[in-house]
Symmetry: D2
Subunit: 142 residues, 4 copies
């Protein structure tokens, strides 16, 4: 998956191996000095009967964003425990969604994360989650 095919900045990366995210997305991420950002381009198959981006697609992308933020650039795996979403505004096909992720806290076993989905300066969705960290060689528990 290449971000340029979707007219997205070329330094965004793609996470390989998640069939659902590729089918319903595709979604991209990058690590910046200001934290982790995620993005996707709204296409007609992301839209509901009102021709705006489907809330379910936004929540799926929010979940993706929360997990990318939770693992914070490592190769850990993770599991979402809770995900809360407020639908602030609409967006339409052709617009680019940018996710601004915040890693609130990581304990030994959990991550607390938030994301705001934006189209330029417009906030589209706010989301927060509690994520369970799954470390490959788990030595400690919180």
């Amino acid at each position: 998956m290449d971000p340029k095919e979707y007219d997205l900045p070329h330094d965004f990366l793609h996470w390989e191996g998640d069939a659902a995210e590729d089918h319903s997305g595709p979604f991209f991420y990058r690590l910046t000095d200001d934290g982790i950002e995620t993005t996707f381009r709204i296409q007609p198959h992301h839209c509901n009967s009102g021709q705006t981006v489907h809330g379910g697609v936004l929540m799926m992308f929010a979940d993706y964003s929360l997990c990318v933020a939770a693992i914070a650039g490592t190769n850990e795996s993770c599991l979402t425990l809770s995900c809360n979403n407020e639908f602030v505004d609409k967006a339409v096909a052709g617009e680019r969604i940018l996710g601004r992720c915040e890693l609130i806290r990581r304990t030994g076993s959990l991550a607390f994360v938030r994301v705001q989905l934006m189209v330029e300066q417009r906030i589209i969705l706010t989301s927060s989650g509690v994520i369970k960290r799954i470390q490959l060689a788990k030595a400690t528990s919180d």
Copy 2:
């Protein structure tokens, strides 16, 4: 869209005209004496890299279920304001998700709804939402 193609009970119905739900689903619903039920069959393209159903797909289906419950068999439209989700258990490709919807309350402008997603007797996700009702000929507001 025909529920039989997905080995689902033939009395489930399909809502026409939502490209996102057809692309990421398809999802189905029916009105029973016990309330509204929703369903879909988990396919490989609904799964994450761990080969279990993606949390984002479950939230998208939960949002679909909440909206079907909110309009309660009418031809109203609606808008999700908030959607909260707890990820209780895993499910895998081939399993059938059943959504048991509860219409908690409808006011003039809002609906409060909940849904439990099940695989047989196993609860997979709990979700709740506040939904804004959009009536075609809006005469009153709450």
Copy 3:
């Protein structure tokens, strides 16, 4: 604390040792064949400027209810990770709130719980939470 002082059924029990719950409550619980129930009587100091029960008091009581349900009659301790609330209807001083708790699932380390707060047949608040179990002699982790 005696439930009869608040005109509550005499078989409700009081949890000793939580200063905040006694100050902002008091709250009571009982184990029934249908699951765990919680209750309190709305008093003037539970009400907002509109003379209805304050949403914060309802959330505090919901959190109490979720934790009572999570430990399920044991003497475990617990910690709320997330708590989501929808404010469905109003209630006034003198009315009795009944919490109908549901233990959705307990894993080795977590509990998934829901509660509906009712005044007779009227639903006042729906709440759901993810709770971390804290076992006194912790032998396993999930």
Copy 4:
């Protein structure tokens, strides 16, 4: 209610007429150039049996903070529709909670708001809500 009695900065204000907030608080707020801030001093009667601030007290204060942010310095009234909370860290009696509020968006009928509760640089709770605006002379609806 005087913030100085609780060793809080003297420019914080008190909202008169809410019995529940005075009983379970008291809570204070101020409008700054960076947005709305709220505060309270944790006292023994705010604490649970573990001698840390009770999650229910934090949610009640979060709800207060969300509503103060939602009305944004006006004399509007408001009603919380949904309030979601993640419990990030502990705090103890004597510590001062500061709420950093964000007004995400106001429409004609709704406000989308978030708050982070902090003790110095430590995040204690994240909360978000959808609030219904109640205007005294309501001319338009969203």
